[in-house]
């Protein structure tokens, strides 16, 4: 087997951060080499260096045994390296085919449409070449990104956390395509947090931590436990301990609510549920079955068409968000950078955002001081409270959100995919925080995609399907119960 790519001693510094500290990595023909590591470990930075987006401060890159300089993606593409970035690089107003031929000399649109269809069929990457990108779902967009690479015959394919945005079915399809690429001798660098996926697809796994390689292990030499412990440097007990819930009065009551999605389709179809003080109600379901809309009607971000929302017996259906915040509703949205935080404001300012203080002026010293305390209390890793929050890793951003929300001593917490994209340590932190809030008497509504998360945290489990709760069950991870939930997620009523 030939070595397609080898990097040696890569060092990359950002202002105040040593993102890569002497990294070695290699990729062979026809292998899936997974890069695993906590958030902020430097995985994306390494890939950006290989793809020519970042200029390394030190180190060498070899392609097929020859030393090369990669100064831009243009160079990378020339050497057959392609990358699907975490944030897609597609022009929304262009069609799929236009995005594919962009930058390629001597391609014409009609031929491209045909070739895209061929590639789609061969690799099972279903997408309409004439559709506009803005019309496509996230999963479809990712397929377009992959087709872009297959179209130019990339030998090295980098996939940066491709499964973070996919449904289980879409992940399956992606893995099929990856296997097909392997057969043709393409080398794939796969980045993911999800250990079960890593187990399934990888031929080799390299674990990174704080800008360094911890080690590389071959298939057969690793299992989930081993990988997890390599990642965090200690055995992780993902089973979070907790007491039995002591549910109190009903805090949230959603009664027969209907609402529309952004696109104007009906998203909630007469949904009803209750959450009591001191309990966590986990809602399982396939993404896109009304989870986001449910959270938004409770928090007041989305209009209710019919039905009622009650908080502690008070009808709040038509109240605005501020009123609900003051009444004790907290929201941990799925979108950390856009909805939960204001990326360009500092950590201190973001921590201050929802506090209601008297007077017209804002006291920087006080805000700064309080931020320092919260940074300590919640163990937020940031160079200073004055750093823009966008520079933090995902896990630390989520800590900022949690610190801000939980300091308000909420009566009701709505958490949507609260650990999406987080590393194991941050995940554990989020779990503990939610359980602590519960034990202090908050009602928690958890909307999550991962079943283990639901099992780990919930006191009761409901399943949402097409904007309705189709049934409830217990959070027992027994095979029978999992099957039962699976059936409900597919719309079969309990």
């Amino acid at each position: 087997m030939k070595t397609l790519l080898r990097v040696k001693g890569i060092v990359k510094r950002f202002p105040g951060v040593l993102a890569l500290n002497g990294v070695n990595f290699e990729l062979q023909e026809g292998e899936v080499h997974t890069l695993l590591g906590e958030n902020g470990a430097g995985k994306t930075t390494l890939m950006n260096v290989i793809f020519g987006l970042y200029k390394p401060d030190e180190g060498e890159i070899e392609i097929m045994g020859k030393k090369v300089q990669i100064k831009s993606p243009h160079d990378a593409l020339k050497y057959g390296i392609g990358m699907v970035q975490q944030h897609f690089t597609l022009v929304p107003s262009f069609s799929v085919a236009e995005n594919v031929i962009l930058g390629l000399p001597g391609e014409n649109l009609q031929d491209a449409v045909k070739r895209i269809r061929d590639i789609s069929n061969t690799y099972g990457l279903d997408v309409d070449p004439n559709a506009k990108i803005w019309q496509l779902s996230v999963g479809e967009r990712q397929r377009v990104e992959i087709i872009k690479l297959l179209y130019i015959g990339a030998r090295v394919v980098i996939l940066d956390e491709p499964t973070a945005v996919l449904t289980p079915q879409e992940t399956k399809a992606l893995f099929k395509a990856i296997r097909k690429m392997k057969e043709n001798g393409t080398g794939i660098i796969f980045i993911s947090h999800k250990l079960n996926e890593v187990m399934e697809i990888s031929d080799r796994v390299t674990v990174m931590k704080k800008g360094k390689v911890v080690g590389t292990v071959k298939r057969g030499e690793f299992d989930q436990r081993k990988l997890a412990s390599m990642m965090v440097g200690r055995e992780v007990v993902m089973e979070v301990e907790r007491e039995k819930a002591k549910p109190g009065e009903v805090v949230l009551k959603v009664d027969n609510v209907t609402a529309k999605s952004d696109k104007g389709h009906s998203a909630l179809n007469g949904i009803s549920l209750e959450v009591r003080a001191g309990e966590i109600l986990g809602i399982a379901g396939v993404a896109g079955n009304g989870q986001r809309e449910l959270a938004e009607i409770i928090y007041g971000l989305r209009e209710v068409e019919s039905g009622k929302v009650e908080l502690l017996g008070e009808d709040i259906t038509n109240k605005d968000v501020l009123y609900r915040i003051l009444k004790g509703i907290s929201y941990i949205p799925q979108d950390r950078k856009g909805v939960a935080l204001s990326p360009n404001l500092s950590v201190a300012e973001n921590l201050h955002l929802k506090r209601q203080t008297k007077g017209f002026f804002y006291n920087h010293d006080k805000v700064y001081k309080r931020a320092q305390e919260l940074i300590k209390k919640y163990n937020i890793k940031t160079p200073s409270p004055d750093v823009a929050v966008k520079y933090l890793s995902g896990g630390n951003m989520q800590k900022v959100v949690i610190a801000r929300e939980f300091e308000l001593k909420p009566k009701l917490i709505i958490a949507v995919h609260p650990t999406r994209g987080l590393d194991v340590a941050s995940m554990e932190f989020v779990y503990r925080s939610l359980i602590k809030a519960r034990d202090e008497g908050a009602a928690v509504l958890l909307l999550a995609g991962e079943l283990y998360e639901i099992f780990n945290l919930s006191d009761r489990v409901g399943v949402i399907y097409e904007g309705e709760i189709v049934g409830y069950t217990t959070p027992d991870p027994t095979p029978e119960n999992i099957e039962k939930i699976g059936l409900m997620m597919a719309g079969v009523r309990a």
């Binding site: 950006n48 831009s72 690089t89 022009v91 966008k390």
Partner: protein, 308 residues
């Protein structure tokens, strides 16, 4: 008021606007906002006039204006693309610089006559009743007629246009396909600046044959609004420019007839008013909003390593 006369006046008054608007469309399609159109037009007007005064060759003068505009626009390109200065500020700086430089250097040319583009009657077409008026114009007007479909085809039907629009919509997408975002933006700026300056040159080489200080008289700002009105499309730019040429000619006529003394300021306000109204109307239509609009990366400098 005969219709032919109106057509002639509208087109003549609209042509400087058309060139300036087309120039800015190219620039903005690449994602760079240039508010320095007024300055560019003045540079074009003066450099063109000076060349024509000294050589008597109007075509040479026109080409010099194009080159001067292209180079002058590169100042803005350097500030906004390389140094990543705020584009509103750098655009305003360009306007002030342009009017300052042309004011100082132009002192020597005030009140002097120079050569001028003559009208060319297109055989056959100019004999058509009424509409023939469109074909009794000077060469630059005809150049405008040709430029509109040519630019339309380049922007929407060619790979070059695809690249240009990608750079303005989603530079990271272009970059990831090996396109040099900075180079494309520089070239678009240069070409756009040249066209805008041509609009200015029209004022001193065709509409009149003299140099008057600040002779662009706010047309650069009207063009900025026309770009939005035209939804960044050449054909709509043509309609918008001539429509506004029509409004300006009405004003002149009304004043000449002594009927009413409509303030020039009110008329200058019209394109902005029309732009605001169109945008309000368009914003009601969701489909439209999705498809047409400012290039997404407009006025956002591109950088690979800077985090968003």
């Amino acid at each position: 008021m005969n219709i032919e006369g109106l057509i002639t006046a509208s087109v003549r008054l609209g042509t400087p606007l058309l060139f300036a608007t087309l120039g800015e469309i190219i620039t903005e399609r690449a994602g760079v906002l240039n508010l320095g159109l007024e300055g560019l037009m003045l540079v074009g007007a003066l450099s063109g006039f000076a060349t024509s005064y000294m050589t008597g060759n109007v075509w040479l003068a026109f080409i010099v204006a194009l080159i001067a505009g292209g180079l002058f626009a590169l100042i803005h390109a350097f500030m906004s693309i390389t140094l990543r200065v705020n584009q509103v500020v750098s655009g305003l700086a360009l306007t002030m610089l342009g009017s300052g430089i042309s004011g100082v250097l132009g002192k020597a040319f005030v009140g002097k006559p120079a050569a001028k583009f003559n009208d060319i009657y297109i055989p056959g077409l100019s004999n058509i009743p009424v509409l023939g008026a469109f074909f009794k114009m000077d060469a630059i007007v005809y150049l405008g007629y040709i430029l509109v479909p040519v630019l339309y085809i380049i922007i929407f039907k060619t790979k070059l246009g695809l690249t240009l629009r990608a750079v303005g919509e989603e530079p990271s997408a272009a970059d990831s396909r090996g396109i040099n975002v900075f180079l494309v933006r520089y070239i678009a700026k240069g070409c756009g600046g040249a066209l805008t300056a041509a609009g200015g040159a029209y004022l001193s080489l065709a509409a009149t044959s003299m140099w008057i200080e600040n002779m662009s008289a706010g047309r650069g700002w009207i063009a900025v609004a026309l770009v939005i009105f035209s939804a960044w499309e050449p054909f709509k730019a043509l309609v918008g420019s001539y429509l506004f040429g029509f409004v300006m000619s009405l004003q002149l006529r009304l004043q000449a007839m002594g009927v009413a003394h409509v303030s020039a300021n009110i008329l200058l306000m019209l394109p902005y008013l029309i732009t605001v109204l169109t945008m309000i109307l368009f914003s009601f239509n969701k489909n439209f909003r999705n498809r047409v609009g400012a290039p997404s990366a407009l006025s956002v400098p591109y950088s690979r390593e800077e985090k968003m």
